[in-house]
């Protein structure tokens, strides 16, 4: 269905999903696990951008920061406060990991908005790994910190006794749905936004509607900038919430 040659001569053609194709960087051929692809390129760009902000930007270690350094400090302070507020003091041990997640997702989302860019976080494979990593580490931390008491998370002791088994089943299901919703929310948001932008841009091929189309693309772009930030924030804060559940399973 994703055929590149289709509709070259037609006035109206949509390839909203072509931007998500994973292609080898050099030449054609199959994508092996080690092949450098456009995913690799953009992962690399994201990593370089984060390093540029957080490492090169703070090179001066100035007491009075310049612009880049104050942005880095802002990101640090925001994430630090989020971890501290949501998980409490004992969650600060995991702050570097959460900061890594936040910066990675934020930069992937933002850089994916550049024209011709590839959005790493629009792929279930990527967000699934991120969400599964959070899920598994949170579960392991929960059992390591609290032992069997961690199962109390599913046993709602404030509910009537009759309802508790039913609630426990629901809680268990919702616990295991967490990584699914966690990953699909991010990937879906990114995918949907970019696809919608592509669809609106495709309408610009018709001369009459093109001004409206361009306006719409501009508006959607603004919305997408917002969504990119909010989704990074939401992913991070949900990670913090799950971590809090693991550290303090008593409701």
């Amino acid at each position: 269905m994703a055929s590149e040659a289709q509709g070259e001569e037609a006035g109206l053609s949509f390839h909203p999903m072509d931007q998500f194709l994973v292609k080898p960087l050099f030449g054609e051929g199959d994508v092996h696990w080690y092949t450098p692809t456009n995913v690799t390129l953009w992962l690399f760009i994201v990593a370089v951008a984060i390093a540029a902000l957080l490492v090169a930007g703070t090179r001066g270690r100035a007491i009075v920061p310049n612009r880049v350094q104050s942005v880095a400090e802002l990101a640090y302070g925001m994430t630090y406060k989020m971890v501290e507020d949501v998980t409490g003091k004992d969650g600060l041990k995991y702050f570097p990991y959460i900061m890594t997640l936040f910066m990675f997702i934020l930069f992937s989302n933002m850089l994916g908005l550049l024209p011709k860019a590839f959005t790493v976080t629009s792929h279930i494979a990527v967000t699934g790994v991120l969400a599964l990593a959070v899920f598994i580490s949170v579960t392991v931390i929960g059992f390591a910190k609290n032992g069997a008491q961690f199962l109390g998370l599913f046993w709602v002791s404030s509910a009537p006794l009759v309802l508790r088994p039913i609630l426990a089943v629901i809680e268990v299901i919702s616990y295991f749905v967490r990584p699914v919703s966690h990953s699909i929310r991010l990937a879906g948001n990114m995918m949907a936004g970019h696809a919608v932008m592509k669809v609106f841009a495709g309408f610009a091929a018709i001369a009459v509607i093109s001004p409206i189309s361009i306006l719409a693309v501009t508006a959607i772009y603004g919305l997408e900038v917002l969504v990119a930030t909010i989704q990074a924030y939401v992913f991070t804060i949900l990670t913090c919430v799950y971590l809090k559940d693991a550290l303090h399973p008593q409701h």
């Binding site: 006035g11 999903m17 998500f20 279930i124 995918m191």
Partner: protein, 195 residues
């Protein structure tokens, strides 16, 4: 518009043909959605894990400690500056107190000097006034004395005149002039008038 529709129709026709074709050989793109193309998953996951590991290392080893250090340095600097400012404020307060004290001292000194001067001037003034009083008294006494002398001489003159007139009167009336009687009579009369 009609041509557009026709084009769309032909496109759709091509589209379905190609879809059928793609489904026919269906090798690399098993599904239309790139996200669900499982053949690319190992690649993405591998590179993602590499990137995350590198990022985590960079952040936890270099970036975050550095930012934390900068932030705590700044906090320290701010606290230090605040304390220094507090110290300066204290010093300023002390200086103000010292200044006030000096001012009060100076004022008291000035008061004292003024007081002393005033006392001296008062003394001089008193002396001058006393001197003037004495002089005025002396002058007054002298004047009085002179007035008394004048009055005395005036009384004597009057007595002389009275005696002469009396003697003349007595002799012209034909009486013998008894000098002593005339004297005593004039004395008694004048005693009342000259007082």
């Amino acid at each position: 518009m009609i041509s557009l529709l026709q084009e769309a129709a032909t496109t759709a026709a091509e589209h379905t043909e190609e879809a059928a074709e793609a489904a026919a050989h269906g090798s690399e793109s098993a599904s239309g959605l790139p996200q669900l193309d499982f053949s690319t998953f190992p690649n993405q996951i591998f590179w993602l894990i590499v990137t995350l590991a590198v990022l985590y290392w960079v952040l936890s080893r270099i970036a975050l400690p550095r930012i934390a250090a900068v932030l705590s340095d700044r906090q320290g600097a701010i606290t230090g500056d605040l304390m220094a400012a507090e110290e300066f404020k204290q010093k300023a307060k002390e200086a103000e107190a010292a200044y006030d004290k000096a001012l009060a001292d100076a004022r008291a000194e000035a008061q004292k000097i003024v007081e002393a001067n005033r006392a001296e001037i008062q003394k001089e003034l008193d002396a001058a006034v006393a001197h003037a009083d004495a002089e005025i008294g002396a002058r007054a006494a002298e004047s009085e004395k002179r007035i008394r002398e004048i009055r005395d001489s005036a009384a004597n003159d009057a007595r002389e005149v009275a005696r002469d007139v009396t003697a003349e009167l007595v002799s012209s009336f034909g009486g013998s002039v008894d000098q002593s009687a005339i004297d005593s009579a004039v004395e008694t009369r004048l005693k009342g008038a000259l007082q």
